[in-house]
Symmetry: C3
Subunit: 167 residues, 3 copies
């Protein structure tokens, strides 16, 4: 069994089906060894599970769960794109947008829901750079949106002599 799948299983995490895009775009795309994941929301299937602005309509703890759910959707999309999560070399970047009332300044705590998931699942390879900001409103009134860039191992070259290049 693949290592990351075993880890997910041990953590009791079942990846959801990758959400369908909400517009005229694709969920993921690979350029060289970078995989770009479209912004993901805390959706469970067609249902937006965590909605509203943090601090008034949604509490921080629940918003954090929303960030984790959006990040799970990122992983589901990533797996669909690359086939096997063991190919992940590094989670490079998370950007988190937190729907906030203007007085709320605790966005980093909310985004930790996404960040902590990455470290649980990938260990050291899950430690990423991050940008977090407050936004007034997100598509479908989602509480949080997470976008991701991941680095993957290059597929081995099949017939190019002996592969000796180290990264």
């Amino acid at each position: 069994m693949a290592k990351i799948e075993a880890r997910l299983s041990k953590l009791g995490i079942t990846l959801p089906a990758p959400p369908t895009p909400m517009g005229a775009y694709v969920p993921a795309l690979t350029v060289g060894n970078l995989v770009f994941i479209s912004g993901q929301l805390p959706r469970e299937g067609d249902r937006m599970a965590v909605k509203g602005k943090v601090d008034t309509e949604v509490r921080v703890g629940f918003a954090k769960q929303g960030a984790r759910l959006a990040a799970l959707n990122c992983l589901a999309v990533l797996k669909a794109e690359i086939g096997d999560l063991d190919r992940v070399k590094r989670i490079v970047r998370l950007t988190g947008h937190v729907a906030s009332v203007p007085g709320f300044i605790g966005q980093p705590e909310v985004m930790n829901g996404a960040s902590e998931l990455m470290v649980e699942v990938f260990g050291e390879r899950g430690r990423h750079t991050r940008m977090t900001l407050g936004v007034p409103v997100l598509p479908s009134d989602a509480t949080v949106a997470v976008e991701m860039i991941a680095e993957i191992e290059q597929k081995a070259l099949k017939h190019k002599g002996t592969k000796t290049r180290k990264r």
Copy 2:
């Protein structure tokens, strides 16, 4: 005639002059085979053609035209950077910021104005990843801002086997 230019012509699209930056930055920059385009607004020359927040000051349909116009400006800047739009291998990423009143949640429909243009112009190569969010306000009161990353074909190596690495 170049293929993409022919397609633009057939679609009745004339690329505008690339807008001048609104601050101390450059409109585009190439790193390896990735081209980064600075955020573009729905400007027509010096005039901001689509201004105000969606849903109250601007209707969704007009905002969508604004997203298309901002995306056209992205293409104008891209062409100025790489010379020939036939070199585009893939539109990698669009990020869309939609100036929204807090109750407006239809940002994806607005950004489809940009996304659909990319598919019209580049076909399969125009299918990109995307992140869309609501923001309270944009520079010069623009309704929408679009930023882009594109992948281009590497220029052919001149002399096979005599690789001259550039610094």
Copy 3:
């Protein structure tokens, strides 16, 4: 003495200590020849030096200083990541988020505080692409957040045991 360090010295700029992340993420990360820097705020050590929304709580001129301070923190983190700022080949991308009241539309002028610093320090290599937007609120009530991508020179391939690190 390294060139960029000499330039900083001549400009009277002392880089601060790189700020510690405000959540479960890392300050910087290198993929190939790209360095991703996590979003930086106008912090001086543990103190948020420039707080509040532009135009009402904070004036534009002071907000611009905040952008410069956030950009200085980016450089501090970059130096910690790559060891020597002379390795910078190009500042690729700055994204600026300016905490704004909905009526404020002068975000580019604020972000010039960050952009101008890059050109002062790196000259032509500091000329970057940029995206600037207004947000309702930032972590810890910061006035501005700056994220950065830089391109670096690849390290020369070394022979094992003959470490010739350049300064």
